[in-house]
């Protein structure tokens, strides 16, 4: 019993962190001291992009943490706490969109391939084999480099990188489930394939999918931050956690707060997703129940 309590304590902490993230992102305008403005600018490719702009106060640059500026200020005098708070919106948006779209594509393709089998399945297996032979960050890096620097582009790059994982996962689930008795039963009363897939197989595949989604939300954040750090994601001036660490690197030795706090934000959020995902996995994995 004590064993179970311990496990659920960590998961509860994870859940609390994620709820905190959602609240911070939602109430950013009320929590932050300074606020950015958004402007539409045209890019080199001729499209428009929304650019985030912060007010510059050179007289306040590189101040250490204080009651005025909880996390200090950066080299443009911007309040780091406010930037981190607004950065939570960017991070949340990236994680949710990338995972939502990758999952949709992957579950659809993997589910169909697993259920109908045959040539469709073989083709999907080969394609996902190839995609999964390239490490996530590297593939996303190449695609984002080809597309050009912007947050939208790293999201597109990450979607292309991540969907094969879900395709494989869903396919595996479908393969395991379609031989089960309840599917046979459904078929014997004349249920159509689409009904079997939606009403029977999909709900029973949800548990491992949910675990993977939760863990991947953290992984996506790490990759997105890494890409921004290298210079591929957020455009200069945006309050994105990875970019802030990159900017802060030049000042690290006399302004440690610039690098430290955005990093702590990332660690906290990824930890939250990992704890929650672990907890979900422990709860849904029958092998671990004693």
């Amino acid at each position: 019993m004590f064993h179970l309590f311990r496990k659920s304590l960590l998961s509860m902490i994870g859940l609390a962190i994620i709820i905190l993230l959602l609240l911070v992102a939602l109430f950013a305008p009320f929590l932050a001291k300074e606020h950015p403005t958004y402007a539409e600018v045209s890019t080199e490719q001729g499209t428009t992009q929304v650019e985030e702009r912060w007010e510059i106060h050179f007289d306040r640059k590189l101040l250490p943490p204080s009651s005025d500026h909880f996390f200090g200020t950066d080299d443009y005098g911007r309040d780091i706490f406010s930037m981190i708070v607004y950065g939570s919106q960017t991070s949340l948006r990236i994680c949710l969109l990338v995972i939502a779209i990758s999952t949709f594509i992957g579950v659809l393709l993997g589910g169909l391939a697993g259920y109908f089998g045959g040539v469709l399945d073989e083709i999907l297996m080969r394609i996902t084999d190839v995609f999964l032979s390239i490490p996530y960050l590297i593939l996303a890096l190449a695609i984002a480099a080809a597309l050009g620097r912007s947050i939208d582009h790293i999201m597109e790059a990450m979607i292309i990188t991540w969907w094969p994982t879900y395709a494989r996962l869903m396919r595996g689930q479908v393969l395991a489930l379609r031989e089960q008795q309840f599917v046979e039963a459904a078929r014997s009363v004349g249920a159509r394939n689409s009904r079997i897939l939606f009403r029977h197989i999909l709900p029973n595949s949800l548990a491992p999918l949910l675990v993977q989604i939760t863990l991947d939300l953290g992984a996506v954040l790490l990759v997105a931050a890494g890409l921004s750090f290298i210079g591929l994601g957020a455009s200069p001036g945006t309050a994105e956690w990875g970019l802030m660490i990159s900017d802060g690197r030049a000042f690290m030795f006399h302004a440690w707060w610039y690098v430290t706090f955005p990093g702590l934000a990332i660690v906290l959020v990824v930890l939250g997703f990992n704890l929650l995902g672990d907890g979900l996995r422990d709860v849904t994995d029958p092998k671990l129940r004693r």
């Binding site: 190839v130 960050l137 590297i138 890096l141 695609i143 210079g231 690197r249 990332i266």
Partner: protein
């Protein structure tokens, strides 16, 4: 017999995967950019004459499938294009930077694998005691850290506040590298009997290798722990204990061998993480490897270099997983007996 069959099958599977990888790198470099010629010429600041020349050189006006065959042809002749940042062939640059990255990765593995395995075993044996909880928390925090941030924090603490480690580079400033036998400074130092460079290179390796390996250590630890726990609760272990075998024999002779199997698989997959992490780690520690080369290429819009790097890394990862799969086949008797 069955093991050989498995290995041969695995080797044959390699070919379509490698071809598939080239299709992906081709698509990313020739199809995805709005204007591939401009991308190869160096981005928005490229001169029109350069763009036109590159368009002709790379046959970018021909149909896609024809372009792909030119691309494959180049690859077979080990031509990855020219890096305009370094003004030399990408293959030459990568070949020069490869040993540094490989040495860093090996040392990251030397830190991650033994400590991960031992940590996992101890954690499993002492399940739910304090040492188990502490280890598990360290592990889960370990792979929640952005690697570039961990690198910066370690630099700040151990190279600045309490400067016991160097800030960057492979050797102390002013030191010449040991005689090149392999390009791996540690090995070369041993081979040429150069104690100074041996000590210096090890000293410089520690922080970057630890940074790179820490997340992998955490993953291996967790995998080892959970598979040990699973194995220790199984029937044949209960039988071994019932037979009266000492706890030590039970753990080391029986449980460990079986728990290692999924850990081997995880190590292979984690290798991809090491290659990715190298890009970020090398940038921060100014390590002259392929990862730093790639990061500079991204910033400098050196498209050939980025794509060349991607392809080489993919090939390395595929080969690493091949080795892991073969190792797995050799170690897991179920494969030999045709069961798994």
């Amino acid at each position: 017999m069955k093991t050989w069959e498995y290995i041969v099958r695995r080797l044959l599977l390699l070919i379509p995967v490698l071809i598939g990888v080239t299709i992906i790198t081709f698509t990313v470099s020739h199809v995805i950019p709005a204007d591939p010629a401009r991308a190869f010429a160096g981005g928005p600041k490229a001169q029109p004459e350069t763009i036109a020349r590159i368009r002709a050189e790379l046959h970018l006006d021909k149909p896609l499938w024809e372009q792909y065959f030119y691309y494959l042809n180049d690859l077979i002749h080990l031509n990855l294009g020219k890096s305009f940042l370094e003004n030399r062939p990408v293959t030459t640059a990568l070949a020069q930077y490869f040993p540094a990255t490989f040495e860093l990765t090996i040392f990251a593995m030397i830190i991650a694998v033994p400590f991960g395995i031992i940590g996992g075993i101890i954690s499993a044996i002492r399940q739910n005691k304090l040492s188990d909880h502490i280890t598990r928390i360290i592990a889960i925090v370990g792979y929640s850290l952005p690697i570039f941030w961990l690198a910066l924090m370690l630099q700040y603490v151990f190279a600045y506040q309490f400067p016991i480690f160097p800030l960057e580079g492979r050797l102390s400033a002013g030191m010449t590298s040991p005689t090149t036998f392999t390009g791996f400074y540690v090995l070369d130092s041993i081979l040429s009997g150069n104690v100074a460079t041996l000590l210096s290179s090890l000293h410089h390796l520690l922080l970057p290798a630890f940074t790179l390996g820490f997340a992998t250590l955490a993953i291996i630890l967790r995998m080892m722990r959970s598979s040990m726990l699973e194995v220790m609760g199984s029937d044949y272990i209960r039988t071994a204990r019932a037979k009266g075998l000492s706890e030590r024999t039970v753990i080391y002779k029986h449980a460990l061998r079986n728990a290692m199997i999924p850990t081997i698989t995880v190590t292979g997959l984690a290798f991809g993480g090491l290659l990715s992490g190298a890009v970020l780690t090398e940038t921060i520690f100014n390590w002259p490897g392929m990862g730093r080369f790639a990061a500079h290429a991204v910033l400098g819009l050196d498209f050939n270099a980025v794509m060349g790097f991607t392809l080489v890394v993919a090939i390395i990862y595929v080969l690493a997983n091949l080795i892991v799969d073969i190792l797995y086949a050799v170690v897991d008797p179920r494969v030999k007996l045709g069961g798994g």
